[in-house]
Symmetry: C2
Subunit: 223 residues, 2 copies
DNA sequence: ACCTGAACACCGTTCAAGT
DNA sequence: ACCTGAACACCGTTCAAGT
């Protein structure tokens, strides 16, 4: 696993790879995922496109490295809450914030299947919290994916909403009023004015309350 | 909203648009979303690429139309269960099945923001179920998105797992054993042998149990 | 109304060749 | 070890021109 030049004192390689990722991340914030092009990245680095392929096998590998760097800040400095549920809530909220920190961050992360140190540490923090709360491993695994899918799905939607042409997302008035969809019509105000923070918290709480219920049932059975 | 040729008896236009979508969907199953190209689609239709742009403004509009057709089968023929929770469970399971019916179906649907009849009908079915169970509109809205994000996130992952080179997804042995990630190490068996049906049901149940809890609290407050 | 031919402005990736 | 120059095999989209 030793990187090139690690012992020779030539740190250039190491630095270069990191620098590429850094510039790629700042370029991502400028132009978004769809605008993030190997050619454009090469321009920003004042280098030929082909040079990038010496450092990364392909574009996906670069995106994976970017995702790894993104979740470096997925810390666990949430006040060591007495309650595991609140702890989990804080942790997931922090994860969302980390994804929101970069344009299209959630999409980049969802598309990159990294097993780097930062990603694994993040997963360990989440799963150990649930495990220490007394759940069986199968529930820990189930809870992990339920929470991850929810956060990613929610944040992808949130970010594509934020960077979409204004109002393109709400269902048009005429499509709903006097339609065969009475419930949607009544929900229209909610579509128009979305409070993402509140909605994220609501759904997150739903999942955690579901977990609490499972524990209650486990205790009942044990008696 | 009248389509061209609707009154003249020339149904060619109408049929063509539908035919393009049909062929596009079958092509999707052959080559996947990344392989679904306007040029390749044109070849299959024995037509020039530019011809497609008379029927669809751009590729996204075609993808939207494909998504609309996909969820035509999102029916409500779930046995009209006594319990709204079980009803919802069946409905969401059907939605997952519908997305699984096409290669990369979930990714196509998640990327297409359609407000077509089928999509709205599907949303109406979901929200009316929750609403009739006695929840306030804000909860109906929250439940809608929580469930939708979960299903989409889960199914996108499932499909990209299914069509990925074997075993590329499980965390490597050496990365976990004797690592600073003890919980992940214990979870390894679950990563290697994934039962998607069971895990989908587990997470779905978590969300629904969370909803039940909310109702109990509402009743308690009312007393 | 519907399609063709041909072009425009891009992509990711490869590879011999340079230093 | 690291990068350049140049090419390959593609993309989505546009548009004058045909019928």
């Amino acid at each position: 696993m030793a990187r090139d030049g690690e012992r020779t004192g030539k740190k250039q390689t190491h630095l270069q790879r990191e620098k590429i990722v850094q510039v790629a991340l700042s370029l991502l914030n400028e132009v978004g995922l769809d605008g993030l092009t190997m050619r454009r990245l090469a321009d920003h680095l004042e280098v030929q496109v082909a040079a990038l392929y010496w450092h990364f096998k392909n574009k996906q590998e670069l995106l994976n490295a970017m995702a790894e760097v993104m979740i470096t800040d997925c810390k666990d400095d949430i006040p060591d809450s007495e309650d595991w549920g609140e702890h989990l809530q804080g942790f997931m909220q922090n994860l969302r914030a980390v994804l929101l920190a970069y344009r299209d961050g959630a999409r980049v992360f969802a598309g990159a299947y990294t097993t780097g140190y930062n990603t694994l540490r993040c997963a360990e923090l989440l799963t150990s919290t649930v495990s220490q709360a007394g759940y069986p491993l199968s529930s820990v695994f189930g809870a992990l994916w339920t929470l991850v899918y929810y956060v990613l799905g929610f944040t992808i939607e949130e970010q594509s909403f934020l960077s979409s042409p204004e109002g393109n997302y709400s269902i048009s008035q005429e499509a709903l009023t006097d339609s065969p969809f009475p419930t949607l019509a009544r929900l229209q105000p909610f579509f128009e004015n979305r409070d993402f923070d509140a909605h994220f918290k609501y759904g997150l709480n739903l999942i955690i309350e579901g977990l609490r219920k499972e524990k209650e049932d486990l205790i009942k059975k044990a008696l």
